[in-house]
């Protein structure tokens, strides 16, 4: 490899960081840049809920400090949005109006909050979060709020609710079991969840759905199908994640729900790879694409994408079915096909 190489990784999460590490270990000369929309250091996303509810300081979120990038001569471009890719000319167009040339590219942009189609008309009233910058303002609002409604459609919502309770908030929880992400909840699970939440003094609304949301002054009122009226200072919608690939659409990189890659994590362009939550990976055995979530998966894929980019040909193994305990419920998260 020559010093003229410029490897760019879009995304500063577990996939992106592991890719960068592997690239630097194997190539001391190439320019390596990480571009991320986030302005905050590489952090543990699953700790955000504790940060929002004010239980941990921002420092506790950090995985890797800025100085570590400098030491490894990796250029970290934070708070920078890639708006457009030109895979033919190998140019990235950034939102702040800069053109950047790359020789090889890894897309590791992760996911962004999903919003249910039925709730889109109330979008302005809903608060969602998936990134650190989303949470900074939210943390402040939650501090002031007394009553909070959580629209729960994913696994994070359970632990988030508990975090709020611990912060002495009055919490109501609406379960969206039909649209739950990324797994389908069995009725047995639902019962256990309800039991669990009630024991934490959470007002639960199961088998119900949102009919109307009204706002007067700074207070919201949710009217449900079952004619419940729930008052709230903030409505937080947690409906899981969708791959963050909007900026790729319209380039000629193949996408479906995520960026389509082969088992080597290669896209339809020779020098472009994708890894982590944003990738939709072809499984030759299943003869179909699959998406993985979870930190470990992303790390592994980041490494493999980097090795393949450097000339290796490592196949991503479909992970074995793994079952882990989640609030007393057994959940299978690492292997699924359905959104």
């Amino acid at each position: 490899m020559s010093a003229k190489d410029h490897f760019i990784i879009i995304g500063n999460g577990p996939a992106g960081n592991n890719a960068a590490e592997v690239l630097r270990e194997n190539d001391k000369k190439a320019r390596i840049s990480i571009i991320s929309t986030e302005s905050f250091s590489f952090y543990y996303r699953h700790r955000l809920k504790d940060f929002i509810s004010g239980r941990i300081p921002a420092e506790d979120l950090v995985v890797k400090h800025y100085s570590e990038y400098k030491d490894k001569n990796i250029r970290l471009r934070l708070g920078q949005f890639v708006e457009k890719i030109d895979p033919e000319k190998k140019i990235l167009y950034l939102k702040h109006m800069e053109k950047i040339n790359y020789t090889k590219l890894i897309i590791a942009t992760g996911g962004s909050p999903r919003i249910l189609p039925s709730l889109t008309i109330f979008q302005d009233y809903l608060t969602m979060f998936s990134t650190y910058s989303d949470t900074v303002g939210l943390r402040h609002r939650i501090e002031k709020a007394k009553e909070i409604v959580v629209l729960g459609g994913d696994l994070t919502s359970f632990s988030f609710v508990k975090s709020l309770v611990k912060a002495c908030k009055k919490v109501s929880f609406l379960l969206f079991n039909d649209a739950f992400w990324p797994i389908s909840l069995t009725s047995e699970m639902i019962l256990k969840i309800e039991e669990n939440l009630k024991s934490h003094n959470v007002a639960t609304f199961f088998n119900d759905s949102v009919e109307m949301i009204k706002k007067s002054k700074s207070k919201y009122t949710i009217e449900t199908k079952q004619n419940n009226k729930i008052k709230s200072d903030i409505i937080i919608s947690l409906m899981g994640m969708i791959p963050n690939i909007r900026f790729i659409l319209g380039s000629s990189i193949d996408t479906d729900r995520g960026v389509l890659v082969d088992a080597y994590l290669r896209t339809n362009f020779k020098d472009i790879y994708a890894a982590g939550d944003c990738a939709q990976i072809y499984n030759p055995i299943l003869k179909n694409y699959w998406v993985s979530i979870g930190w470990m998966n992303a790390e592994e894929q980041g490494k493999i994408a980097a090795l393949n980019l450097l000339g290796d040909s490592k196949i991503i193994e479909p992970p074995k079915e793994e079952i882990f305990e989640y609030e007393g419920i057994k959940v299978n998260t690492s292997w699924w096909k359905k959104f």
Binding site: S41, Y66, G79, Q80, K95, H96, M97, K99
Partner: protein, 588 residues
């Protein structure tokens, strides 16, 4: 109320309204009672690039330095602003144009160079200005609007400041600027999520006195006018040129004259000519010009003719670093010239002192019939502050020439020996007061004469003037503890600001640090100096020159070792620099 202390920089290309937006910002910030210390860099001083920077520090506390690190950087021009990131704080904020007319090439965008942890807000300066006024001239105002939205500034009040600033312009100009500002304010309010924690709504408690916004050069010019300056003669040279430009506007209003001469020799020659004729006159220059004036400096002293020279120091020697600040002309100011050459040297430490030092200079020059050098520097010349309306010179200061009385005029002896060393001086037009003065050693009647006894007597008289003036000048300023001083800082000129700030912090940290600085650096007030040094365990002399010119000078008076802090980075001294030296000295 918690303290606010913020550094804001606006960086752009010439013609983008960088300096004027900085000026408006300063006016507003001053009107809400912040202390400000600001510093502009103009394109003429940065060859070939057209880069402008308006640097502004404002605080609820008394401040003495412009601040080393920036909190907020407004990038009107990306390419120019990139280098300003070097002193943006780790968590600093950048406000930039998110929709320039075309894409920046790789690494030509400010956002691309931001360090992790820094925060950026993109605002479509261009689009919004176009929308507001149909052209992009109001980009700077859009940026100011965004600043108001982001940092909680009262935008209605700010708007009034803009209107006042352009009050003399056509209505369309006012409208375009105001509309651009409002557009930026509204857009930022609607579209930006604040993620930094900076805000500045109100400064300290209201000051009773009227305050003015002024830089060192303007303060000198204002003081000169207030001191009834009649003739300014000068040759353009950075960083003193502005004094000449201001006076070229102001002097004609007072029937005075600004004379642009062919060189600095002619400038100081004209100054002496006017001084001889009984009018107040001055010149302002920098190192190279000051060097040319040396021969006339000797003449001023020998012929006993008042002369005021402002030397705004820049990096030296020779042509040196014309746009960088330095304090390396101390030797030249105090010792420059040949022979035994007593003169006054005034070194203002702040914009306020630029005014006071200048009025003092005219007073001393006229009263003591000799040379007064005012040492400014690039930084002080251009540093903008809001200061209380200065106190104009008194009648006594305005008419300080000691003229011969009628009895003396009966048989007028121009250089008659006196106790103070000052002989009454008649000015042209006075009947029977005729005399000839000369650069040759001369007797009491001005006749050239070379005998040793006379030379000894006349030399003594010339030096005696300085000693008798010591009671006529302000005493050195002693700040901080008066006894048991861990580190006593002997400071001079503009780096005294950094010394004050560093001492304040050190004293808060439980140390005992005091500062002695004097507006008049020559002649030396030995009484105060000795007292200060006797109370100080260690002595520190910070200054912006390589060889420690002041330290070397003062050593001969205090006869003990001194610690030195010498910097020639071209930047003003920062309190951080002095503080780390203090810590080092206390630790050892």
């Amino acid at each position: 109320m918690s303290n606010t202390d913020i550094v804001l920089e606006i960086c752009g290309s010439a013609g983008e309204g960088t300096i004027s937006s900085g000026e408006i910002f300063n006016r507003y910030i001053s009107s809400i009672d912040f202390e400000i210390m600001s510093f502009d860099t103009y394109p003429s001083e940065i060859r070939g690039f057209g880069k402008c920077v308006a640097h502004s520090r404002f605080s609820t506390q008394k401040i003495f330095t412009p601040g080393k690190y920036t909190d907020i950087l407004i990038a009107l021009n990306d390419a120019h602003s990139i280098s300003q990131l070097g002193h943006l704080k780790d968590t600093g904020v950048v406000i930039y144009d998110s929709k320039p007319p075309k894409y920046h090439e790789e690494d030509k965008s400010i956002v691309g160079w931001m360090e992790p942890g820094m925060i950026s807000y993109g605002i479509p300066f261009n689009d919004l200005a176009q929308k507001a006024a149909g052209n992009s001239r109001g980009r700077n105002m859009v940026a100011l609007g965004a600043v108001c939205a982001l940092f909680g500034v009262d935008h209605e009040e700010f708007k009034n400041t803009i209107i006042q600033r352009y009050a003399k312009k056509k209505q369309i100009v006012i409208d375009n600027n105001v509309n651009s500002f409002v557009e930026g304010y509204n857009w930022a309010n609607d579209n930006l999520t604040k993620i930094d924690s900076i805000s500045f709504k109100k400064g300290k408690n209201k000051n009773e006195k009227e305050s003015i916004i002024i830089n060192g050069n303007q303060a000198v010019a204002k003081a000169a006018i207030d001191s009834e300056l009649h003739l300014y003669a000068g040759y353009p040279i950075t960083p003193a040129t502005k004094i000449m430009e201001i006076l070229s506007h102001e002097l004609p209003k007072k029937n005075g004259i600004m004379l642009q001469t062919e060189d600095e020799i002619s400038a100081i020659g004209n100054v002496l000519g006017a001084g001889f004729a009984g009018k107040r006159s001055m010149t302002a220059t920098s190192g190279p010009g000051f060097a040319l004036m040396t021969e006339f400096m000797g003449l001023s002293v020998m012929a006993q003719i008042p002369a005021v020279i402002v030397n705004s120091q820049r990096g030296g020697p020779s042509t040196g670093l014309p746009t960088k600040t330095e304090q390396s002309d101390f030797n030249a100011a105090v010792n420059g010239g040949t022979g035994d050459l007593p003169r006054f040297v005034i070194a203002p430490a702040s914009v306020e002192e630029c005014y006071d030092g200048t009025t003092l200079a005219f007073y001393l020059a006229e009263k003591y019939q000799t040379l007064v050098v005012i040492l400014l520097d690039f930084f002080l010349s251009n540093s903008i502050r809001n200061i209380d309306e200065p106190t104009p010179p008194t009648e006594k200061m305005l008419n300080s020439n000691i003229a011969p009385n009628e009895k003396e005029l009966k048989d007028y002896v121009r250089f008659k020996e006196t106790k103070t060393g000052v002989s009454p001086r008649s000015i042209p037009g006075t009947p029977n007061g005729m005399y000839t003065t000369t650069g040759l050693e001369n007797n009491e009647r001005g006749k050239p004469q070379y005998d040793g006894k006379l030379h000894t007597k006349m030399s003594d008289m010339r030096y005696r003037k300085l000693n008798s003036a010591l009671n006529d000048v302000p005493k050195p300023k002693w700040t901080g503890p008066k006894k048991d001083i861990d580190v006593g800082i002997l400071s001079w000129g503009s780096s005294a600001g950094a010394a004050y700030e560093a001492a304040t912090i050190a004293n808060k940290n439980g140390h005992r640090v005091a500062v002695l600085s004097s507006l008049v650096v020559f002649p030396v007030n030995e009484v105060d100096l000795t007292k200060f040094c006797n109370e100080s365990k260690q002595i520190l002399i910070p200054e912006l020159n390589y060889s420690g010119q002041y330290a070397n000078f003062i050593a001969s008076y205090i006869n003990r070792p001194v610690e030195r802090l010498n910097m020639v980075s071209g930047l003003p001294m920062a309190s951080e620099d002095v503080l780390s030296k203090i810590d080092e000295m206390i630790a050892s």
